[in-house]
């Protein structure tokens, strides 16, 4: 199914400080969209509202032409996922972290094990599957965060600053993972980055967020 994510007239303020002011965009084709802009311009807020993690003060988000999406719509939320800048790995083994999304969907046994193994190979960390996830480096944690998101085969993958505060080696690996996602047509990626060069390298479409609006 081709993508249809519409964001219409989003306003969002924190403590009376406007962050987003009438932001709108229609994501209608599969691919990689990179949202860029200065630090604090509202990229993460925009992404969190798209992923239904936050409610806008005004405006609406709709997916797959199904009308205004609301927070708590689990069926809809299970078709997409957001990887946060700090992956938020659970205090358990790497493989248990990765299979989390499968377990909460009632998928277990061989299918869960095979999918977990395969995605760990995809992010190049299958050798760490039995290690406690909290002992990983920042870059490895971020790769496991991405694996944990990809194992559930989301139609839309939101990545919020996936390469912020990690080393060069892991930045290259993550960029490579994103490019492979594009080649395999595995999911539409909507990501934020403050690195304009990275945005150009990875994206099919660069969106610039300025003064609370996408331009």
């Amino acid at each position: 199914m081709s993508l249809s994510l519409k964001v219409v007239g989003i306003d969002k303020s924190y403590n009376s400080n406007p962050v987003l002011q009438g932001s709108s965009w229609s994501f209608t084709e599969n691919g990689i969209y990179v949202l860029t802009g200065a630090n604090g311009c509202g990229k993460s807020t925009f992404l969190r509202i798209c992923a239904l993690l936050e409610r806008p003060d005004r405006g609406a988000v709709s997916f797959f032409d199904k009308g205004k999406a609301v927070q708590g719509n689990i069926a809809l939320m299970r078709r997409m996922t957001l990887v946060l800048p700090k992956a938020g790995l659970f205090n358990m083994s790497v493989s248990r972290n990765v299979s989390y999304g499968l377990r909460i969907r009632g998928i277990s046994g061989k299918e869960a094990a095979d999918r977990t193994e395969s995605i760990l190979e995809f992010v190049g960390l299958s050798h760490k599957k039995d290690q406690n996830a909290l002992t990983l480096s920042s870059g490895e944690s971020q790769r496991i965060g991405i694996a944990r998101a990809l194992v559930i085969d989301p139609e839309i993958l939101f990545l919020d600053e996936p390469t912020a505060s990690i080393d060069e080696k892991n930045i290259k690996i993550i960029e490579n993972i994103i490019q492979q996602l594009k080649q395999q047509g595995r999911a539409t990626v909507i990501m934020t980055t403050h690195d304009r060069a990275q945005a150009e390298r990875l994206s099919d479409r660069v969106l610039l967020l300025e003064k609370g609006k996408i331009i």
């Binding site: 939320m77 790995l89 909460i104 909290l134 998101a149």
Partner: protein, 235 residues
Amino acid sequence: MTSILEGFSKAISLILHLNADLMGIILLSLKVSGTALLVATVLALPLSALLGFRKFPFRGVFISILNTFMGLPPVVVGLFVYLLLSRSGPLGFLALLYTPSAMIIAQTILAFPIVASLSHAAIMGVDPVIRQAAATLGATPFQVSLTIINEARYGIMAAVIAGFGRVMAEVGAILIVGGNIAGFTRVMTTTIALETDKGNFELALALGVILLLISLMVNVLLHIFQKKGMAGAIR
């Protein structure tokens, strides 16, 4: 000094020979405190989860009261339970006074605020990003709550162990409601108090050594769980 050393050597001999009276008292202590802890934990965990996950009016006041009750004086709890269970009290018809059940009730009241309050603190100590990560992966609110409780597991275990330490060491409440009846309601702490009064130090010292060992074990476990819990919180 000689009598203390002699008392110690006799106490060690009682322990090594697994003296029947000594074992009976230890087992009853573990049974009473273990049951009280189990009941307190079953009641406290849902409350700590409710306080951790739901916002409702006077929640802060409720948490403050719970924290205050962590320091409940055992004799006051003993007096309260005694008045409830005494023949003229509202629950006198149950005829529970001077039974192990009365001791379990008193110790449950003592353990409950400790387990509830520390478990609540453990739940609140889980990094907020964990809740968001679970939600973004498609977890239902119930699954998110279970994930947070799982992340707080070491803190919750530490809370349960702290509750165990509290009830194992207390004497005031169970002395009042249990009556210290030999072979029926006599536990480690009440025996130590009684035998010391009688000048019979061997059994008192033997039980003291066992209590110290249990206390040491509790503290080692507490340290391990707090360390494991902290590793999760730091990340």
